[in-house]
């Protein structure tokens, strides 16, 4: 059931059960105390009525050399009692003072009954008609018990309290009274206790609910935010202002996770959008070229032009896709870099020779200053980085400009610096040149997607190195690559 999976409900149920248990125990105790007190009072009343009866029996009984009770009532005269010895039950008489104690007007309806040798020898007018305890009390076993047996008291139905005294002489005196009023009082007490208990339980549960709600609120807060985030709104954050507890720390950790998630998502989205954007232009070329060509009959030369334009567009898309795949592999960290020792300067020299025809076309002079540095890594991939830097240096140079390529060992790092005398990169673009698809010149006529430097950076990073750039507009740009050299 869902309710038992909710922490709040479980807390509430446990709390409610404990509260109920405590209340029930307390109320039972209170009830017992009240009951005991009431019955004690009744019992002492009953006890008070025993002595006059016992006294009325004693003087006429033979073999009674000493008084059975410590406190014979002071207000009774022995001479007032009629001689009941061996007389029938009707002949036993209580003195009037004692008889007053068993008046029918008394709301408690005190009564007595006296048995001798199993015979009901006397009883008060209030005594309940069936001689209830005769059978038990007149059993021989009872009678043979030691005479100093104390009185036994019990509660009977209809509500009354009875004390049974067995005198040493064999008489059994039962003194009782109605306890209807006591029972009524106990009923009232029970009711009051129940109502009070229910009220306390109610307020207790309400308070418990409030406390558990407050305790759980940060969790609900976190969960509500998480739901919104999972629904796609990554800008949501947990309000940590009111969660200062242990949950506050959790919220802070979650918030920073959400922030990084959002950034990663935004980056991913931007990357996908940029990639799609880069594909739009070549696809546009192919579409317009083919739609135009197919619009009417063309001669072979026109068709050839169309096919050539489509080929250029397709090659551009291929370059883009290759670059994207390279980046994706680098991102996923799947790319296995070779770890071979090689002379970095030799790789740089080879790349310079590769780029020289292009530089010559633009009248750009390439000068080198190389010193042998052994590094460990993938010479082919690092060659790609060098070629890319050289290509940029030539492409963004002025006609007849200069490109300087230097390698040196510096603090255990192999350092490659490629400087050009080109147009430079505006200061506001400088921090972004390594971003994917970023191009300072905003046009795409060069056919470059703006991924070259991003890939270079990722490749250098995969070798544990770094790449940075310094540029001054209309003076030139220097890219510096640092790679760990082998000792």
């Amino acid at each position: 059931m869902k309710i038992f999976k909710s922490i709040k409900w479980r807390l509430q149920i446990w709390y409610g059960l404990i509260l109920l248990g405590v209340l029930v125990a307390l109320e039972i105790t209170a009830y017992q105390l009240e009951r005991n007190e009431l019955f004690d009072r009744v019992d002492s009343e009953l006890q008070r009525r025993f002595s006059p009866i016992a006294d009325a029996l004693r003087p006429h009984h033979p073999g009674f050399g000493h008084p059975p009770f410590d406190h014979p009532p002071q207000d009774q005269m022995p001479g007032d009692f009629p001689p009941p010895n061996d007389s029938p039950p009707g002949e036993f008489h209580l003195p009037p003072q004692a008889a007053a104690l068993f008046s029918s007007d008394d709301p408690k309806k005190f009564y007595f009954r006296i048995f001798r040798d199993g015979n009901d020898i006397a009883s008060s007018t209030n005594a309940p008609s069936p001689p209830t305890r005769t059978t038990i009390i007149t059993e021989p076993g009872h009678l043979n018990r030691p005479p100093n047996l104390g009185p036994t008291t019990q509660t009977l139905e209809p509500p009354r309290r009875e004390t049974t005294h067995i005198l040493p002489s064999g008489e059994i005196i039962i003194i009782g009274c109605s306890i209807t009023s006591e029972m009524d009082q106990l009923k009232t007490t029970t009711m009051v206790l129940t109502v009070a208990g229910v009220i306390i339980l109610f307020f207790g549960l309400a308070g418990g609910w409030w406390i558990s709600s407050r305790a759980i609120r940060p969790v609900e807060n976190i969960s509500a935010t998480a739901v919104k985030i999972s629904a796609g709104d990554l800008s949501q954050r947990i309000n940590t202002a009111e969660t200062e507890s242990e949950l506050g720390q959790l919220a802070a950790v979650l918030n920073s996770t959400f922030t990084r998630l959002e950034a990663a998502f935004a980056q991913q989205k931007q990357f996908a959008s940029d990639a799609a954007h880069e594909l739009r232009t070549p696809v546009s070329v192919i579409l317009t070229q083919t739609q135009t060509a197919l619009n009417r009959e063309r001669n072979a030369g026109e068709y050839k032009q169309t096919v050539e334009a489509c080929q250029r567009a397709a090659q551009r898309m291929r370059r883009l896709i290759t670059a994207l795949l390279e980046l994706a592999r680098l991102d996923a960290g799947q790319e296995q870099m070779k770890r071979l020792r090689f002379d970095f300067s030799k790789t740089v020299g080879d790349c310079v020779e590769l780029i020289r025809p292009l530089a010559d076309d633009r009248g750009v002079k390439v000068s080198t200053e190389l010193s042998q540095i052994e590094i460990e890594g993938d010479s082919e991939r690092l060659g790609l980085v060098v070629t890319n830097l050289l290509n940029n240096a030539v492409q963004y140079n002025h006609d007849g400009g200069e490109v300087k390529v230097r390698t040196k060992l510096e603090n255990g790092m192999a350092v490659l610096a490629v400087s050009d005398t080109g147009q430079g990169i505006p200061a506001e673009d400088l921090p972004r040149v390594f971003e994917r698809f970023y191009r300072a010149d905003k046009s795409r006529s060069s056919g470059n997607a703006g991924l070259g430097l991003a890939i270079s950076k990722a490749l250098v990073a995969a070798h544990g190195g770094s790449i940075d750039v310094v540029s001054e507009e209309n003076v030139g740009t220097t890219f510096t690559v640092r790679l760990p050299a082998t000792a």
Partner: protein, 216 residues
């Protein structure tokens, strides 16, 4: 109708220009923002097709500068199809936009709509007496019979029809019917007017001596 295309991708520019010329437009081209703005500023175009990502001056900048001096309808070509880019273009004064990669028929239709709107026409069909000009199908019929007009002749008829009741000068006609590669010092225009009169009736185009031509 004369159109300027500003686009830096040469293969896209050439095929667009060719396709529009085959549609009967006079087409000028520019491959960067500065050149595009210079031409848009100095010639009377019926519409400008403007790419957003351009070297030297981007499409937004060309648009902003052009809007300060001219009302020429502008169709933006954008590679970004996010609504904020479209909003930016439309708010910046573009009349319409097409997202790359586009279909040529759509570009043609949007250009026709732009030109029609700038001439305050809502329908593709212009009727003048018994002559009916369908600007979507680019044909002219007279008394229900389809007339065979060359693209240049059709352009002449359409331009005069869109400016019905106005006197159109020879300079205006040269500006709108011939592109930068045509020799504007020839008497080609007179030849076209004479041919149209032969096909649609001598009274169809009236000559205002010393001013120009007019369709009543």
């Amino acid at each position: 109708m004369r159109i300027l295309i500003v686009e830096d991708e040469p293969d896209l520019l050439s095929s667009l220009a060719q396709a529009l010329r085959e549609e009967g437009y006079a087409v000028d081209t520019a491959n960067d923002g500065e050149d595009g703005f210079y031409k848009a500023e100095n010639y009377e175009y019926d519409a400008v097709v403007l790419d957003v990502m351009l070297p030297k001056m981007d499409g937004w900048e060309v648009l902003v500068r052009l809007r300060k001096i001219k009302k020429t309808p502008v169709l933006m070509l954008t590679a970004r199809d996010q609504s904020r880019d479209r909003v930016r273009g439309l708010d910046g004064g573009a009349d319409d936009y097409v997202v790359k990669p586009f279909d040529l028929p759509e570009v043609f239709a949007r250009l026709r709509a732009l030109i029609r709107r700038s001439a305050n026409k809502t329908s593709n069909v212009i009727e003048i007496g018994d002559v009916k000009i369908d600007t979507a199908a680019r044909n002219v019929s007279r008394a229900g019979k389809l007339m065979d007009l060359t693209p240049r002749e059709y352009a002449l008829v359409q331009f005069l029809a869109l400016h019905r009741g106005e006197v159109v000068t020879r300079t205006q006609l040269y500006e709108h019917l011939f592109d930068e590669n045509d020799d504007t010092f020839s008497n080609l225009l007179d030849v076209h007017v004479s041919n149209v009169r032969k096909k649609l009736g001598t009274d169809f185009i009236a000559t205002r001596r010393g001013h120009g031509y007019c369709i009543e």
